[in-house]
């Protein structure tokens, strides 16, 4: 399986092209007032078909009131090899959290 070693970049894999059908990542807003959340991916020839397929595939039970489809190739991800390094800066900066401040414990409405 020669293709097995390819490492995809986005969730659903950059290498995946179904013939000429691009891969789309699907985001669903489950109710008004909530963010769109990644639901999965699908292949479709164009944006319009991607939205229709996303409706059939990810909202068969009223799971959504709004859909986004994004070409998987348009997603820019942080470097997976950087692992911790890229996200390290908040480490040791507990003072960014309210929990850090102990002396004010017990003071009302604070």
């Amino acid at each position: 399986m020669a293709t097995a070693a390819k490492t995809p970049v986005t969730e659903a894999g950059q290498s995946a092209n179904r013939g000429s059908w691009p891969l789309w990542e699907v985001f669903v807003r489950s109710a008004r007032g909530l963010s769109h959340v990644h639901a999965g991916s699908l292949h479709a020839p164009d944006a319009e078909m991607a939205v229709r397929n996303a409706r059939d595939l990810y909202t068969r039970r009223n799971e959504g009131v709004s859909l986004w489809v994004v070409p998987a190739s348009a997603i820019v991800a942080s470097d997976p090899d950087a692992k911790g390094a890229f996200f390290e800066s908040p480490q040791g900066k507990d003072y960014r959290h309210a929990m850090y401040y102990k002396k004010s414990e017990g003071v009302k409405h604070l």
């Binding site: 293709t3 097995a4 070693a5 995809p8 659903a12 894999g13 179904r18 059908w21 068969r60």
Partner: protein, 328 residues
Amino acid sequence: MATQTDARELHAVPSEEDQAGQAYFDRIIAEDSRIEPSDWMPEAYRKTLVRQISQHAHSEIIGMQPEANFITRAPSLKRKAILMAKVQDEAGHGLYLYSAAETLGTPREELFDQLLTGRAKYSSIFNYPALTWADMGAIGWLVDGAAIVNQVPLCRASYGPYGRAMVRICKEESFHQRQGFEILLELANGTPAQKQMAQDAINRFYAPALMMFGPNDDASPNSQQSMRWNIKRFSNDELRQRFVGMIQEQVKVLGLTLPDDKIRFNEETGQWEHGELDWNEFYEVLKGRGPCNAQRMERRREAHENGAWVREAASAYAAKQAQKAQVA
């Protein structure tokens, strides 16, 4: 990333990066956390997952056939609508799983090709015929029921996209099992002939449903590795016994029986026991010599070929629109 992969193939001695990757992978597994697509993973882990997830996807797709055959023969409009919704769900399950498999780097076309050329396997249960309306009940209750017992622990599989697909699938499966059970319940409370039809369906699907959990533990060498990788959480026999315990209770509600007089609860082991299964039959069906293998594959190929013009037309339309947009 591509250059690293090449380097990996050239050197028999693991590179520094591979060693670091392996250490990171081992830590994630030890913490019972999740591996994501862009993480380093051992080739064997990747291969195992592609095989398991794609076989699972193929099973969902092939599994549409026995029930789709009954859509035009459903006894009422309500039953027809329910059956269509279920078959549509199975198509959805197949697509969630193909997407998950693709994140491991194998393109969908290749996965389709493996199925259509007979290189990939799918669950042997779908190579048994559905003969009567009661079979729609037995399939929902026993086949989807066994699938649920198998799939619930897979929601915690160590590979993120697989686990997430399984969560979605499991939510939908419970309706499948209940609608099946209710078909049997209605028949069981119907005329003597209807009751007999329900019993007959259970008799035929019982053993094949138990075999869905795979060979006995001592004949399933890959299971151990899958459990170490946190892909599998329970052994084939554990899951099978759990399932027997559930259905031996449920069948009483139907007022019917399971075709197995060896079912008993072993107080010492705390496990349900059942009669010996015919593993020869299992391997025969797996090798392609089951009652419906040829028919299922032929139907799948036919559907794929008949759909070619739709796929081509959609691509052509998309290309034309893209060109128009460029000109304008």
